[in-house]
Symmetry: D2
Amino acid sequence: MNDLLQIIGDRGRALVDWRRPRRPSGRALGELADLLLSVPGEASGVARARELLDGYRALDYAGRTSFFRLLVETYSADRSDLGGAAARFLEDPSEVNAKAILRSAEPRRLELFRRLNFAPGGTADLVAMRLDLLERLPNHPEFWTLDDDLKTLFQSWFNRGFLLLRRIDWQTSAAVLEKIIKYEAVHAIHDWDDLRRRIDLPDRRLYAFFHPRLGDDPLIFVEVALTGDIPSAIQPILDRDRTPIEPGAATTAVFYSISNCQKGLQGISFGNFLIKQVVEDLQREFRDLKTFVTLSPVPGFAGWLERERSAEVSSVLPAETRPVLDRLDEDGWWQDAAARDELSRVLPQVAAWYLTRARDRRGRLADPVARFHLGNGARLERVNFAGDLSPKALRTAHGMMVNYLYRLPDIEKNHEAFVNDRKVAASSAVTKLARGLPAPKALVPSDA
Amino acid sequence: MNDLLQIIGDRGRALVDWRRPRRPSGRALGELADLLLSVPGEASGVARARELLDGYRALDYAGRTSFFRLLVETYSADRSDLGGAAARFLEDPSEVNAKAILRSAEPRRLELFRRLNFAPGGTADLVAMRLDLLERLPNHPEFWTLDDDLKTLFQSWFNRGFLLLRRIDWQTSAAVLEKIIKYEAVHAIHDWDDLRRRIDLPDRRLYAFFHPRLGDDPLIFVEVALTGDIPSAIQPILDRDRTPIEPGAATTAVFYSISNCQKGLQGISFGNFLIKQVVEDLQREFRDLKTFVTLSPVPGFAGWLERERSAEVSSVLPAETRPVLDRLDEDGWWQDAAARDELSRVLPQVAAWYLTRARDRRGRLADPVARFHLGNGARLERVNFAGDLSPKALRTAHGMMVNYLYRLPDIEKNHEAFVNDRKVAASSAVTKLARGLPAPKALVPSDA
Amino acid sequence: MNDLLQIIGDRGRALVDWRRPRRPSGRALGELADLLLSVPGEASGVARARELLDGYRALDYAGRTSFFRLLVETYSADRSDLGGAAARFLEDPSEVNAKAILRSAEPRRLELFRRLNFAPGGTADLVAMRLDLLERLPNHPEFWTLDDDLKTLFQSWFNRGFLLLRRIDWQTSAAVLEKIIKYEAVHAIHDWDDLRRRIDLPDRRLYAFFHPRLGDDPLIFVEVALTGDIPSAIQPILDRDRTPIEPGAATTAVFYSISNCQKGLQGISFGNFLIKQVVEDLQREFRDLKTFVTLSPVPGFAGWLERERSAEVSSVLPAETRPVLDRLDEDGWWQDAAARDELSRVLPQVAAWYLTRARDRRGRLADPVARFHLGNGARLERVNFAGDLSPKALRTAHGMMVNYLYRLPDIEKNHEAFVNDRKVAASSAVTKLARGLPAPKALVPSDA
Amino acid sequence: MNDLLQIIGDRGRALVDWRRPRRPSGRALGELADLLLSVPGEASGVARARELLDGYRALDYAGRTSFFRLLVETYSADRSDLGGAAARFLEDPSEVNAKAILRSAEPRRLELFRRLNFAPGGTADLVAMRLDLLERLPNHPEFWTLDDDLKTLFQSWFNRGFLLLRRIDWQTSAAVLEKIIKYEAVHAIHDWDDLRRRIDLPDRRLYAFFHPRLGDDPLIFVEVALTGDIPSAIQPILDRDRTPIEPGAATTAVFYSISNCQKGLQGISFGNFLIKQVVEDLQREFRDLKTFVTLSPVPGFAGWLERERSAEVSSVLPAETRPVLDRLDEDGWWQDAAARDELSRVLPQVAAWYLTRARDRRGRLADPVARFHLGNGARLERVNFAGDLSPKALRTAHGMMVNYLYRLPDIEKNHEAFVNDRKVAASSAVTKLARGLPAPKALVPSDA
């Protein structure tokens, strides 16, 4: 090992050239990793971390997989150390022995990741590395422990306290704006003019969280429309020819699009903080704003409904709704006045049922967007028939949209009830709609 | 608990007023801490964290001690959970069981600290909290585990990757500059004119590390003089009437003062990164710079020498040096030409011995400044008699100063040899000086 | 007057509302102008200036014309004062009397414009006002004196010393970038991707002059390509699929597009300063850059050639070139190999003649772009056949392009020779080409 | 000339070295000036302007005087041109001929100054040049015309529209702050702690005007105290141990110090704009602020009173006041309760008379500070006995201070009355005080 160290030390920058031709294998990176871990407080760690990350980047798909395997196999906690510590603790459960266990239980790769972060741009590289990892997880379930480590690390580094809220507008640099265009995941931004309509009109806002280490790359952003009432459809919001209103005259702030930007930060939650902060900032700026509400998609609805309809016996759908729901199979039903009329009486009931009662195998609310907003303490305020007639929304939600209402005084109560008692906060209108369908018998394992 | 939650939720900002009169006890804060920990993904954590930190600040000395006791007693890892996990691991040392141990072993207060960091200004408050803790450690050794947790946390948050290097000059805001004046710990900055001479002359530089979350408050800084040779005394560097040199003509960069700013970050090391980075930046700016060297104090020398001289038998000091060293006891010896002459022949030898061989009980090099620079990979280049005749330097080092040399190609090798083999890198001149004294027989337990 | 003042003073902001419905006539603004001029050092001038400028904006086309007429008729120098001062000076040509003339000769509107500039945004409004004026000049030649005053004022305010050079890149705000897209006058920027290729590739640069008072609105900008040689055609420069080169390896900086942005600043010259400054900045950044050259259009060529060809006798075009030049009348001649081949032997000669010898009625070089670069001290280096086959360039220049070379040591000499002796600096190749055509006999009045 | 041009052109940067040893005479600079003027649109003017300004700086006192003489003698308007233009205008007073006069009457040095401004830092150099000029004016009254030109130029360049208001606080750079310390002209700032008390306490503000071209060098600044009532003495404002008040609770903003920074801009007025702008900004920030008032010195009072007292017959001072006023001659009268008591009944009357009625030879109000604030439209609200017992204030004003009140609705009216009718706006209390003294008979030539 010392010899290798010598070589690297002597050749200095030569290393960079060496790396390029030979395309390092996962194993060679392991040697670099050993070096990086070997010498505790060493300043040259910055250069070495950069080296290892560049080496990682130069690997192909298989090479990266090998590197992950190496991390799992070689950089876990030392089992015999940990066994010893566990035995000592069982004998004498003192604080000293408890701490000794903690130390022995920490996988060595965690310290490796911390040192890789020394490198300029290291954080971004590690976030990208987790993305590579997530892609491999389905085929390599044994990598779960590595993913667990990266997630733990990111939860510490991307602590709410380190995030910066910035308003994005037409004064923002093109470098940031093009990322907004790229990351928008709900209602696609078609071009720079479309973007401009969302950030440079007096009644439109866009806010994003940034992390000091990721520079111009946002973590998450939310788009806001200031309006005179709670909207029931997205097209008027996005309409390119609409006339903006005076923002001081608005009574309602509509969160009509929330997009996570960094797939490598999956599972690290920022959205609740973002919404809460934006609500506070808007309230300070516009005293007449009274209502904070979303206009949200229902991404799981069509899939769920298809399963219910294809089930021999559905505990949810009354027999008399079946023929009406069959009209959904007709091409362009939304342009047929009769179909639209019939469905408008049934679909909202079914959607209300789905949103408030349907649960997945783990007993969680089935719709991920509902889960997010209700988990944040919002209330399910209204379901909107034909709220979004774009192909994507027709395909995934038969055009349904939902308003979730954020009432600050109720947020904590709602959140508690949702987390602790699995109670869904919903307006009486929505509750009534859902009751229009017969109560299910035993739809999901543990549903009340 | 839920009731209390209700109360707090309802009363909202009222809480703030409630806190002021009643001066919360450590216990009451514990209830707030429970609340903060109780509800996982909750955005209102920001306000609650602020509340708890404000409550903490309002506590008096005893109150804070109680709070620390609470954290130690109540927010440690659950012993029975940990015991169970340890037993399961011993039975089946799988990765799943290893990770379960890790999870059970983490003290609950770590998560509490992470949530306190949600609050605006939370990081600074937590650093201040550790300072309170460090003050109590001597009388409350049982708090060690709490200190261990905070240190772990800070090591993650103050990772080199998150630090920003900034040059401090006369364009810097007064808010930052007054902190530099306050934090300078080696050669006190007397007033703004003194500061100006250190940052606003062409041959002087000051660089500091900042953390995005601590704003204008620096972590550590280094003062640099650009010179034509390696200086042997500090007064010419600080002289108020000296003529600056053209920086482009300098061959040598002298690090003549390094100060840590945040006592609450004790034990988190930045200095090595700072020096290395500044060397790189200076090299890029001034191509003719060849030598990077410190002019450093020897803070432990006088204390160590006093102990040696008062020992009945010193294994270090030859008998013939005793009468010469006794002249150090004469008031104003440095103004007496004869005393100065005699001492100038002996003191450097003794200092060289002290710096290269004297070790503390834990076997570490005795002088903390030597330990820092040698640990960074520098070489002990020269000892300077009468290098600093200020009262403080006379008292702590009999006026001796030292140059440590940073040669980039040797740093890694020196560092390795120091850490692994406890070898001290020294110039031949210094080595020779140290040999002028007889080798000690068995000065410290394990010294070679 | 005092009464009116009173009314305005009392009603304060009411004025604003009053202005909107009644659409102020030019005459009413005249009263505001009197007020603005009436009270010398008065701070309320800021509000009053804003009022007048808002009033002006609210005027329709005829209203603005009336306002200009008012300025010309009523706010000129007082003729009888000036007559008195002139008479006194003729009697006693002292410095006092000379200065008195200067004072009497200044039109009162100049002071009015200075006070209008007090208003926030006043400078931009005055620049816009001159644009209105320039539109009316052809039909109202009597407004020339007003234009002369605004130009004098702008020459003082837009002094080179007050301009800021900024590099425009992908970090620049969208608000600035969209102006670049809008103002590009030579090679249209089609969309944001096209813009990006001009500012966000390593071998492309864009620099603009800004004025502190006009904020994000540029005055003029130049687009630069770093290349390995002097280009002879524009398409390879703008090619969307080209591979960028390493800028450090470039030997040549090509100014391939220069656009003035503010029509209201017509006649105020910035371009020469911009090019000179950019040359200096690029030289500092890239030491291997040796050649600074333009790739320029020849906007007047086709028009001039048409006149020559349609003239019964051309003193320029030899009879034998006529049939070849007639091929230019064929649709798509540039796609016909034969036509292209024939023309490639004649057109460059004719263009070289045009660029170096053709003059307008005022005796100035006929081509405005040639006039600009040669007036700046550049040398006409090369004429390029089929340099730009875009419809616009085919229409205005039969596809010809030109390189003007900026050699710093020659700039002053060339400039002098051009201004004082009307000598055109041209490479020997171009000179030779031009000589391929017979010297004209008496083409323009005073041509040598 | 052309030869010289050649030499300079060829030698390029050599010029700089050449200038240093030989210390250019005013005459040599004249040649540079000719060059600068000779070539109209030339970009190399930037370098040449820098050269001339550097040359000017290198001149000694006599050299600069020679340069000014040169400018007066050689760069005035051409008398014979002007004579011709004047004659033509008298014959035919057309707009064309009027404009021709204007052009001929402009001294050539004005264009020279405009070109000198091309140089980096040119504006600051020209402001410094005027300072040199002002110093020479008393001995060289013939330079008045040059001063007149520079003033005209600066009035255009330092137009209100180009000034930037910035709040100065503890976040401001030391480079700016040290200038504030240096420029404070009313109540000296003793050190950085004193400065800090004026900018870093919640109830203290400091605002300054900057010009984009002068960078960090302010033009004028005003210090503001937020208080609960109109203060009658300065010491409580400056007291180092006072307790700040909550700024939101303040009812009154006190302008207690206004300092012009640039002597070279003498006669260009910014103060009125500054006060008005600060009033507006404070009103927007603190809605409860009702009163805007100064606490001002009376710099001409003691001098004026001495003249009155030493006059054989004073038309102002009633005989019975004489013995009381004689007590002012006693050392330390303000520490003698009896003297203080007596004077407190007479001095305010005399001061009120002085401030409202005493006029200088040109018929202007005698006190310059009164002239400034009353000219801005303020009202003389109160005279304060023993308002400032510092040595300077005792020497110049026998300790008197004054409050001028800025009431926005009255400012315009007051200003008009003052400028047009020479009416002094004063509170009834001050008016009454002034009447306590007999009306003067014929104090100044034209006083009503």
